[in-house]
Amino acid sequence: MKKVFGRPKSMKAAEFHYCPGCGHSIIHRLIAEVIDELGIQEKIIGVPPAGCAVLAYNYFDVDMGEAPHGRGAAVATGIKRSLPDRIVFSYQGDGDIAAIGTAETIHAANRGELITTIFVNNGVYGMTGGQMAPTTLVGQDSTTTPGGRRLERDGFPIDLSEMLAIAHGSVYIERTSVHSPKHIIHTKKAIKKAFKTQIEGLGFSLVEILSPCPTNWKMSPIKANEFINSTIIKNFPLKVIKDEVGKL
């Protein structure tokens, strides 16, 4: 019998701890497929965050070094500067990258560090139980915004990817989503392009991926995906935010 579908080589035979309907599992798989397709399993080093995805190192069958909360870009910088011919990626959530780790991220992008960041935006602090994230929408409920995020108290959701696009050292930044098969397929293309940007030595690359968190959004997985489609993408539009790959 011909095998038509299997576990990517770059994934361990481990059971995900992620909740049903969580986007992390999908995104992990996409990254592993890209690592396989680019043939870089033996030369890639990943940097997982603090947050739900801290256990990413249990799933990727590649070298992984855990960063303190928010410091993924700085740890990845150290690894890449030490081993310039390896591929280095950080995997970070919205709280990790857009709140506590904002400075490290902006400066890594601005230095044009040859790293790739996978930024998973689910608008909530998942692991700690659903508090407001820097990307929580105005009006969106969280455990620290009962009744919804209020502008006058909580400020605006932050457009980190747009901010990073201003940095001169960033080369490729795209916002995608995994709420439908079409979007999942496109997200994989974006991840592949981001890794290729690094392999070609062009500069900092990042893919922001809108991802469902049914547990903390208190929705069914289907409703969560619908919420991305109906509401989140209006606030975080899916688009190529910066692409200088062809120009370099």
């Binding site: 855990e66 030490s82 400075a103």
Partner: protein, 360 residues
Amino acid sequence: MGEKKLLRGSHIIAEAAVRAGCRFYFGYPITPQNELTEYMSGALASVPGGVFIQSESELAAINMVIGVSMTGKRVMTSSSSPGISLKQEGISYLAGQELPAVIVNTMRGGPGLGNIAPSQGDYFQATRGGGHGDYRTIVLAPGSGQELADFTRLAFDYADKYRIPVMILGDGMMGQMMEPVEFPDPIDLDSLPHKSWVLDGAKGRESRIIKSLILDTAAMEEHNWKLYRKHEIIEREITHVETFMIEDAYMAIVAYGTASRIAKGAVKKVREMGLKVGLIMPKTLWPFPKKFFLEAGSFITDFLVFEMSTGQMVEDVELALRGRRRVHFYGRPGGVVPTPEEIAKAVTTIYYREQIDRRD
């Protein structure tokens, strides 16, 4: 053979680090240690494979250190008190992940922004781990230009040998003073022991994880005990203390770093007056030379701990002596650097008050 150079303290550490095989340095400006960062920027630009980044913050610097250390290369960062506070998060991770690194703290007056004058107020922070969690870092306290050079080499060797962060604890005076130093030859990077645990891409081997998250309490407990056992070995193997004129002494000053230099001058002065006083200079602050103090306590009845703080190392001396001998304290915090005369006065006051040489 080595090479003799006349350099200021900050430059001595930097030059010694490069000669010890350090090819990676990350730092953020803060007085009084900018000369170290500046020296590294030039030195690492002129050695093959050298990487220098002026980071956006102390947090970024220590996390770049973590990244390089994961790949097994020798790496250093430096700062002064307020900046070291920021680095403590990363130092805790280094300890938890058992990663080698060298951190230089050129202490200044505090707390808070304090001032930029020489101080020894960070002793507790340095010797008790400093960041969160149950760990220690090796703390070396050089007291001369030559020791700055020698201890910097040792710091890298210890860090690699024990997979532990090592702190070199100095102050603004140590950083600024010019002294002639005999540098050892640069090491051959290829001669360094192989590290079997590094991240460099899982080529022809199982993939590796470097982490400090251990959710299982039994495993976390074992990890803590493992670190503890390592600390015990370190305590046995590297504890180091030096002395000056203690052989016939009834009383000893205990001081480290800049304070020990001042104390040496004080000992010479009171010796001229016939007082039987010596000097004990701990060179490793962690591990603290506890055993040595028990032995010294067999003939020295009074210990005067002199620190440029309100009294921190004095607690370790008291713990080491376990109440068997009198422990006195003289401190000048806030960046004040007392003269040998001032310390000599403090010594004589206690010496006569306690009738030290008339007791058994």
